[in-house]
């Protein structure tokens, strides 16, 4: 029987989930929620993003319908006798069922000076407002606690422009999630971002300056950290004071004791979230809190759901660094108390800042757990295998992510821990509903809809269910393009044969070969027609020209910035006339010459190259053009030399191979005549410099480019574009334009800005070096082909009749130019 008055004390994430769940379950009674904070429940996990510019509204959960919210209203007492809660202002509210969701309070260690102005905790929007206010007159801050929350707080202080210190008692950071090796790699990442890390250190005191505010922190060894802001983030304590006041059972070290139905010692009162002590544990993560809320809701509705503990695996991105932990990882490996029967396998790349470790049983058959820093890919793929047979060789699993997983997952293995979805459920959904992609699985099962870390596993399940999905490139590679790029880069692979022998199956196809060709070319492996690489190229790249509907090709010489001399224009005209080609001006401010037969291409190039032209790469997934308006040189409105910049950029990035074609433009003033905001990167001149816009698109899905940098000088502009392009080249999917890529990135433009302008991943030097290598190693592919008789031999109509033109090609005349005559398909002889 449903009670008819539900009262919830506390309005954080778990209370919100509970209210949603009972309403969704058809609860018909009245619901009253008391919230101490002056605002509705919000996503506390995303708290730091509030300081980065997100509004309270962005973080606030959608209001549940049919609920009386009493915000800014603290409940002072519970009278179990009369079944009433009484607020601090004396209002009484009767209940039939009461849920305590009072959360936790940050633990502040008993340090002298902890009460000084300038000392804060990090839990609520109000805390953040106070920290932001205080940061205006501060130059440095220190966070006490180097755990998950402490590093969140450090991220926030850093974002406020403060010199930021982290003091952690343990010998390494995030001791609950990672081991010493992982902690060291994490520390390197953070120090590269400018954080100052003090591990193995407590706090002796916070001392005041002459103004009576916190001015410095003194460590037990006497070292002094000058800081005007001190944030305590040394753990949480359950808020169980109401339970104590009304005589409910609480744990020895705090927490409201509950049974597996989340019921307290009073059967009409439940406790959920961080205030609850379930199975002897207080859970400080949002996943278990949600699970508890669902269980309590089910019980309130008369169900029999039970909370049997929660998977404490974590995956998060802190200051741009991925950190993950799953399964059991707290083993003693040496000395007395060493855990018997455990082996570990570690992969470490200090240059890339990657640390991955797997714990396995000593017969190397069972996966026990794992730790990842810098690359959390194994988390999603391996977490479901914890406690089960290892699904592949440990080194493959550590390196290749989903690609290394060889074994089938048992049906009862949990794939999505956020929503408790098993492998069997996903498999059945794929089969029953004919699902063909990750989105379908998400819609059907809710798997992958919360933290998303199991998405690679879902993709894997789709593949093993016989579905071809976007991430696995094709049947030959289970990897995404970005994964392959990393493999080629990190392992220094230079041929497709090596790549497919070591990381794929079969001999490739028209999907993976051009991808490999593009990756090898992006990493500067010489002429695209050199050696084995020639066989990887699409016909356009293979013939350095664009195939047309009748099997002829078009030729597009580069005209940087669209600027061309009369003499060169005449040469193009002569070439077109002499070879009988159709000519058309393109949208990228150059001239297309169409109708060339394969065997004519070298002769055409020869004439063009002799006149000073080079390949325009119209055939490649590469930089096409940098279009420009006439700019300040001629235009009475222009404020900068847009033509000059366009030429500089086009010459810098010419020949750069990328996941898809790249288009760019430079406008000399805000009138934007070059249509720069429809380009992959577009530059618009300002009075003070250049505005850089990125990830625009014309074509099928138009998108206006987003402003990445404003009023920057030319050198900064160029470096920023360098990094933007290289980061895109490294991480985009096959045939993914910059617009789709940016939208697919977790964190979007803000994330790109962090990576390439604040170097949050510590890869900028690498990106710069890669672009410098590209610029220095550029050569004209047409000229290089003309100079190599081996390559020239391929440009024949027939291998046994090189001088005979393809008899199937013919033209008629239209508007004084040639036009292909297409042979009807029925007329195919053979």
């Amino acid at each position: 029987m449903n009670p008819n008055r539900l009262v919830v004390v506390g309005y954080g994430p778990s209370a919100h989930r509970l209210v949603e769940a009972v309403r969704a379950g058809g609860f018909e009674g009245g619901i009253t929620v008391f919230g101490e904070e002056p605002r509705p429940a919000y996503d506390r996990v995303a708290l730091t993003s509030y300081l980065a510019g997100k509004s309270v509204e962005d973080l606030t959960y959608p209001a549940p319908g049919g609920v009386t919210l009493r915000l800014g209203s603290r409940v002072a007492r519970v009278d179990r006798e009369s079944r009433t809660v009484i607020t601090a202002s004396g209002d009484a509210e009767p209940y039939d069922t009461l849920v305590l969701a009072t959360g936790s309070a940050p633990f502040v260690p008993p340090v002298p000076g902890k009460e000084l102005p300038g000392c804060f905790v990090y839990r609520t929007i109000e805390d953040l407002d106070s920290i932001r206010e205080a940061s205006r007159s501060a130059s440095a801050g220190v966070v006490i606690g180097g755990g998950l929350l402490g590093l969140e707080a450090a991220d926030a202080l850093r974002g406020l422009g403060l010199e930021t210190h982290v003091v952690e008692m343990s010998p390494w950071l995030m001791p609950r999630q990672v081991d010493e090796g992982g902690g060291a790699v994490l520390r390197n990442h953070l120090e590269a971002l400018g954080l100052i890390v003090h591990v193995g250190s407590g706090v002796r005191a916070v001392e005041a300056g002459p103004d009576g505010r916190a001015a410095r922190l003194v460590k037990p060894d006497g070292e002094v950290i000058e800081a005007q802001i001190v944030v305590f983030s040394a753990g949480i304590r359950p808020r169980d004071e109401l339970a104590r006041q009304c005589g409910l059972a609480v744990g020895e070290r705090g927490g409201i004791a509950v049974d597996s139905g989340m019921r307290t010692s009073d059967p009409d009162i439940y406790a959920i979230g961080e205030c609850a002590l379930a199975g002897g544990m207080v859970y400080g993560l949002v996943g278990p809190a949600f699970a508890q809320a669902e269980v309590a809701a089910d019980r309130i509705m008369g169900g029999s759901a039970a909370f049997e503990g929660a998977d404490l695996s974590t995956k998060l991105k802190l200051l741009g660094v991925e950190v993950a932990q799953f399964g059991e990882t707290q083993f003693r490996r040496t000395g007395p108390g060493q855990t018997p029967g455990v082996l570990d396998v570690t992969y470490m790349d200090p240059v890339a800042g990657v640390y991955k470790k797997l714990f396995v049983s000593d017969d190397a058959k069972t996966l026990l757990g794992g730790i990842c820093v810098g690359d959390a890919a194994p988390y999603g793929t391996l977490r479901p295998f914890v406690g089960r047979a290892l699904p592949g060789s440990p080194s493959d699993l550590l390196f290749a992510g989903a690609g290394g997983v060889q074994a089938d997952l048992p049906d009862d293995a949990q794939v999505c821990s956020c929503n408790n979805v098993t492998h069997g459920r996903i498999r059945t959904a794929i089969a029953d509903h004919g699902l063909t992609g990750v989105q379908g699985v998400k819609d059907c099962t809710r798997a992958g809809t919360t933290c998303g870390s199991c998405v690679p596993m879902i993709q894997r399940i789709l593949v093993t269910s016989g579905v071809e999905v976007g991430k696995a490139l094709c049947e030959h590679f289970a990897h995404s393009r970005a994964e392959l790029f990393d493999i080629v880069r990190v392992r220094g692979i230079t041929t497709f044969s090596q790549l497919i022998a070591e990381h794929g199956t079969g001999r490739g196809c028209d999907v993976c070969k051009p991808v490999a060709a593009s990756i090898l070319a992006s990493l500067g492996n010489g002429h695209i027609l050199e050696g084995e690489q020639a066989a990887l190229q699409d016909t356009n790249d293979h013939f350095l020209a664009n195939i047309q509907n009748n099997g002829t090709y078009s030729v597009v010489p580069r005209i940087p910035g669209g600027e061309i001399t009369p003499d060169k224009l005449i040469v193009i005209g002569e070439v077109a006339r002499d070879f009988g080609l159709y000519t058309k001006i393109t949208g990228g401010q150059r001239i297309d010459l169409l109708g060339a037969r394969v065997e004519q291409l070298p002769q055409i190039w020869k004439k063009l190259v002799d006149a000073g032209f080079e390949s325009g790469h119209a055939y490649g997934k590469a930089l096409r053009t940098v279009k420009s308006c006439v700019g300040s040189t001629w235009c009475r409105y222009g404020v900068q030399d847009s033509v000059g910049l366009a030429i500089e950029l086009e010459l810098r990035y010419r020949g750069l191979r990328s996941p898809h074609k790249l288009k760019a433009a430079v406008s000399g003033c805000a009138r934007e005549c070059a249509e720069a905001r429809s380009k992959d990167f577009g530059i618009i001149a300002t009075e003070r410099g250049w505005n850089l816009y990125v990830a625009g698109n014309g074509g099928f899905t138009p998108r206006h480019a987003d402003l990445l940098a404003a009023d920057v000088p030319t050198d900064v502009l160029v470096r920023t574009i360098d990094r933007f392009l290289m980061f895109y080249i490294r991480t985009a999917d096959r045939l993914q334009r910059t617009a789709a890529w940016l939208e697919s990135l977790d964190g979007g433009l803000g994330y790109v800005r962090e990576v390439i302008m604040e170097d949050s991943l510590g890869i900028c030097a690498d990106l710069d070096a890669q672009m410098d290598r590209h610029v220095q190693s550029y050569f004209d592919e047409w000229r290089a082909t003309l100079e190599d008789p081996e390559k020239l031999r391929r440009f024949v109509s027939f291998v046994n009749a090189p001088g005979t033109p393809d008899p199937s090609i013919s033209f008629e005349t239209e508007r004084d130019q040639i036009k292909p005559v297409l042979i009807p398909l029925e007329a195919v002889s053979r």
Partner: protein, 119 residues
């Protein structure tokens, strides 16, 4: 050089030399003109030879020799460079649309010279 693939017993045995075997790039095709018949000749990674009609049955253009060579479930294939339909090099059947196919021809190597039979 050994015989890579014998002539089909059904062929008339009229062999036309096309080019030296060494001139064929592994995993790349070449077009040959045999009478009025256009043949696309392929050499796989492992050195096997295949010959199919050069005309793409979807677009009508004579371009099959310029497609990317690969495998599908272990079967050697070529993808039309026009719209990427994949054909078996063994049977000529389009694996993406089995209603379409390209003809296949016997091919062999004699004294280092590739020969095809279109009789």
């Amino acid at each position: 050089m050994s015989v890579i693939q014998d002539a089909s017993p059904l062929s008339g045995g009229l062999w036309t030399p096309v080019c030296p075997y060494a001139d064929l790039l592994p995993e790349r095709g070449a077009a040959a003109l045999v009478g009025t018949c256009q043949v696309a000749v392929f050499r796989t990674f492992h050195g096997d030879l295949y010959a199919v009609g050069n005309r793409d049955p979807f677009s009508g253009a004579c371009v099959m020799s310029r497609g990317i060579v690969g495998t599908r479930n272990g079967e050697p294939t070529v993808a039309s460079p026009m719209h990427k339909q994949v054909f078996s090099l063994v049977t000529g059947v389009c694996l993406d649309d089995p209603a379409k196919a390209v003809p296949t021809y016997p091919i062999r190597v004699t004294d280092g010279t590739v020969e095809v039979s279109v009789a």
